[in-house]
C-alpha cells in the first residue's frame, strides 16, 4: 500500500530524514522531518545545506503543513519538499501550490485521478509559492 509522486528531475535523496530535534543537535544532516506543529522557521539558517525536508500530515484535515511549506519556500529553500502521511488526492493540488514537489502518501492513490486533480484548474485567483500566474495578472497584463 502507499504511493509516491515526485515532481522534480534530480536524483532522489536517499539519506533518512532525522527529527528536528536531532537535526538541531547535528547540523550536518541533509534531510530532516518536521512533525505537524513543529516550527519550520527553526530550519531557516540551514536551508542551503538541506536537500530534503519532509513535512508530516498525520491526518489529512491537519493543514499546518501547508503553511510550513510556504514558510520554507519563501525563505529560499530549493531542495526537495515532501508531504508525507495521510495525503489524499484532493490535497495534492494545494500542496503543489504551496511548494511541495514530492508526495509520499500512506494511501494507494490512482495516478490517473491524481493527474486529473492536478490539471483540473487552469487558473488560480492568488499568488502562492508556485509559478502560477494569478487571474488578476492575466486580466491586466
Amino acid at each position: 500500500m502507499g504511493s509516491s509522486f515526485r515532481f522534480r528531475d534530480d536524483t532522489p535523496h536517499e539519506e533518512p530524514a532525522v527529527t528536528l530535534d536531532a537535526f538541531l543537535e547535528q547540523e550536518d544532516a541533509t534531510a530532516v522531518r518536521l512533525e505537524a506543529g513543529e516550527d519550520a522557521r527553526q530550519l531557516i539558517p540551514y536551508l542551503d545545506r538541506l536537500q530534503l525536508i519532509e513535512i508530516s500530515f498525520p491526518r489529512f484535515r491537519d493543514g499546518r503543513g501547508f503553511s510550513s511549506a510556504r514558510v520554507l519556500r519563501e525563505a529560499g529553500y530549493k531542495g526537495e519538499l515532501r508531504a508525507e502521511g495521510d495525503v489524499l488526492i484532493d490535497l495534492i493540488f494545494f500542496m503543489r501550490r504551496c511548494g511541495f514537489d514530492s508526495i509520499v502518501s500512506e494511501h494507494s492513490l490512482n495516478p490517473v485521478d491524481v493527474d486529473a486533480a492536478l490539471n483540473r484548474y487552469h487558473h488560480v485567483y492568488q499568488n502562492a509559492t508556485d509559478n502560477a500566474v494569478p487571474i488578476w495578472k492575466l486580466r491586466h497584463g
Partner: protein
C-alpha cells in the same frame, strides 16, 4: 453587481467537474465517508437528519432576478418547492439527493452562482451590509472589497484545510447591520485624516459554545494591503491553533490564549512577510471590480411623497422602509417572518415574485440579510405602494422588521443533525403570543434569536433576548439569555438562570417583556432598559 468574466466562469465550471469526480469516487468506494465529508462540505453539502442539505453562497448577500429565479427552479426540481435564507445571507435547500448535487451545482454555475466554501473548515462566503450601495449612512459601497476578497480567498492553497471555519464580514457604515464583531475577521471601511480609504480590523470574534466579540486589532489598515493582512492573520492561526479538540480550534480561542497583544504582534510580523511577497491585488483589479458596483442610474427630480392613505400600507412603510442615499428612493425590506411561519423560508413561487419585483422596481438588485429577510435596495418612493400590493398578494407583506416577531431561529432539531432541541416551534409560539400588531409596536425594537444547540447558528448570544435549546436528560430544555446585541453596540447576552420547557420558555419571554414595559423610560428600547437596570429585575420577574 459583479459579473463573471471567462476566468470566474472557468473556476466555477471546473469546480462543478471536480465535485462530480469526487462524488463519483465516493460512490465507487474509492473514498470513505470520512474522507469525502470535508470535500462535500467545501461544496456546501451537509448530511442532515432526513436528507442532504445544500447551502448555496450568496456573496455579500447580493443577487439578481435571474439568480433568484434559478434558485426557485432548483427548489422545484430538486427540493420540495422551497428554500431557506440563513443567518449568513446564504440559501439552503433541505431535501437534496447526493447524486443530484453535482447537477445542482452545474445549474447554479449557469447563473454565476456556486456553493464554494459555504461550509467546512474553510474561509466562508463573505457577508456584508445588506444596504450596501443604498444606505444613507455608508462611506462607500463595501462590496467591491468583499468581491476582491471572495476571489482572493477562493481555493486558497495554504488556507483550505484550516483548524476550523473562518468568517469574514465587511461594512462601511457606522450602523452595523451585519453582526460585524461576531466574525473571525471583521472589516469596517473608514477614511483617515488624509482622506485615504482603509479598514478598521477586528479579529477573533465568534459565537458557538465559547462566544467572543472580535477585538480591534488594527485602527487603520491601508485598504490595498488587506489581502496581506488577512493572510497574516490566517497564517498565525493556521500554524498555532490547537488541532486536538475541535471545540477549541476557532481563531477566537487562539486569540484568547495568546492574548490580544501577542496575537497582534505575531500578525504584524507575518504581515511584513506577506507585504514583501507582493500578493496584494493591484489597484487596477480593485478598479475593475468596483466598476461593477457603480450606482444604478437613479432618476432625478423624483417626488419624496408617499401616499399614506391606506393604513396597512402606512404601517408597512413605517416598519419596512429605510432611508436611501438617492433622493426619491427608498430601501424596502421584505419580511420572511410571517406569524406562525418558518423564519427565512420562502417558496419557489414567492422567489419568483420577489425576482419580478427586483427586476421591475429595484434595478434588478436583491439582497439577503443575516436576519433572514430580503431587501429591495433601490425602490422609487412612488413605486412603494405597488410593490407592497404585490408583496401582500404573495404573503410577503408582514410589517415586523426588528420587532418581537422578527425572530431569528436556526433550523434546529426539525432538520439539523447537530441540534439538541427544536427552534422553529419556539419561534412560532413566540410569534403567536405577540401577534397583536399594537402590542408589537408598543414593545418596539426587540431582537429575539434562538439556537437549537450551543453552536449558536441562531445567534442567541447576540439576541436582546436569546434562547438556547439544550438536551436535559433526554428532554428539550431552553435557556434564556438577555442583553446581547449584534449591532454597533455589540454585546454578549447573559444567561438568566435555570432553563424551561417549551411552554415555559415562551412564558418566561413574556414575563421579561412585561417587566421591560413596567421599567422602561420614554424612548428606551428593551436593550436600553436592560442595560440601565441590569439582570436582577428581570430575574425577579422570570423566576418570581
Amino acid at each position: 453587481m459583479y459579473k463573471y468574466d471567462q476566468y470566474d466562469q472557468a473556476m466555477v465550471d471546473a469546480r462543478v467537474e471536480e465535485f462530480r469526480d469526487q462524488t463519483r469516487r465516493r460512490i465507487a468506494g474509492d473514498m470513505n465517508d470520512d474522507q469525502f465529508k470535508p470535500l462535500r462540505l467545501k461544496n456546501g453539502l451537509y448530511l442532515q437528519l432526513h436528507a442532504y442539505m445544500l447551502r448555496v453562497a450568496i456573496p455579500y448577500g447580493t443577487l439578481n432576478s435571474q439568480q433568484m429565479r434559478k434558485l426557485a427552479d432548483i427548489a422545484r426540481k430538486y427540493d420540495r418547492g422551497y428554500g431557506h435564507f440563513t443567518t449568513r445571507q446564504n440559501l439552503q435547500y433541505n431535501w437534496i439527493k447526493l447524486e443530484e448535487a453535482p447537477d445542482i451545482l452545474a445549474e447554479l454555475a449557469t447563473v454565476e452562482m456556486h456553493a464554494i466554501q459555504t461550509s467546512g473548515e474553510s474561509i466562508r462566503n463573505i457577508s456584508a451590509d445588506q444596504y450596501a450601495g443604498a444606505a444613507a449612512d455608508e462611506i462607500c459601497d463595501p462590496r467591491p472589497w468583499a468581491e476582491l476578497l471572495r476571489q482572493a480567498t477562493t481555493f486558497h492553497p495554504e488556507f483550505s484545510y484550516l483548524p476550523r471555519k473562518f468568517k469574514i464580514a465587511v461594512i462601511s457604515a457606522k450602523t452595523d447591520r451585519a453582526a460585524l464583531r461576531w466574525h473571525d475577521c471583521a472589516l469596517r471601511i473608514v477614511r483617515n485624516e488624509a482622506g485615504e480609504e482603509g479598514f478598521e480590523v477586528y479579529a477573533g470574534g465568534g459565537m458557538g459554545r465559547t462566544p467572543f466579540i472580535a477585538y480591534p486589532i488594527r485602527d487603520f489598515l491601508p485598504a490595498k494591503q488587506i489581502f496581506s493582512y488577512l493572510q497574516a492573520i490566517l497564517r498565525v492561526w493556521n500554524l498555532h491553533a490547537r488541532r486536538d479538540n475541535i471545540h477549541k480550534q476557532r481563531m477566537k480561542i487562539l486569540v484568547h490564549e495568546l492574548g490580544e497583544e501577542e496575537f497582534r504582534r505575531q500578525v504584524e510580523e507575518e504581515f511584513q512577510n506577506f507585504l514583501a511577497l507582493g500578493t496584494d491585488f493591484p489597484q487596477a483589479e480593485y478598479d475593475r471590480i468596483a466598476a461593477y458596483f457603480t450606482p444604478p442610474p437613479f432618476e432625478t427630480g423624483l417626488s419624496e411623497e408617499i401616499d399614506r392613505s391606506d393604513p396597512d400600507f402606512a404601517l408597512w412603510v413605517d416598519r419596512q422602509v429605510a432611508p436611501h442615499k438617492a433622493p426619491g428612493y427608498a430601501i424596502a425590506n421584505i419580511s420572511l417572518k410571517p406569524i406562525g411561519g418558518i423564519g427565512g423560508d420562502i417558496t419557489a413561487d414567492q422567489m419568483d415574485v420577489v425576482a419580478d419585483l427586483a427586476e421591475r422596481y429595484s434595478f434588478d438588485d436583491l439582497r439577503a440579510t443575516h436576519v433572514q429577510n430580503l431587501v429591495l435596495p433601490h425602490v422609487r418612493k412612488a413605486d412603494l405602494y405597488t410593490v407592497w400590493q404585490v408583496l401582500r398578494e404573495a404573503g410577503l407583506a408582514d410589517a415586523n422588521l426588528d420587532l418581537v416577531t422578527d425572530v431569528i431561529a436556526c433550523p434546529g432539531l426539525d432538520y439539523c443533525s447537530l441540534a439538541n432541541a427544536r427552534s422553529i416551534p419556539v419561534a412560532q409560539e413566540i410569534q403567536r403570543r405577540f401577534a397583536d400588531m399594537d402590542r408589537q409596536l408598543d414593545i418596539g425594537e426587540l431582537k429575539i434569536k434562538i439556537s437549537g444547540c450551543i453552536n449558536a447558528c441562531g445567534h442567541h448570544h447576540a439576541g436582546h433576548i436569546g434562547i438556547l435549546g439544550v438536551d436535559r436528560k433526554g428532554t428539550e430544555n431552553y435557556q434564556l439569555l438577555l442583553g446581547g446585541s449584534g449591532a454597533e453596540d455589540t454585546s454578549q447576552a447573559k444567561i438568566t438562570g435555570p432553563g424551561f420547557d417549551e411552554a415555559g420558555i415562551v412564558d418566561a419571554v413574556e414575563r421579561t417583556v412585561e417587566r421591560y414595559r413596567d421599567l422602561r423610560e420614554p424612548g428606551e428600547r428593551f436593550l436600553d432598559t436592560y442595560r440601565r437596570v441590569g439582570l436582577d429585575p428581570f430575574k425577579e420577574a422570570i423566576y418570581g
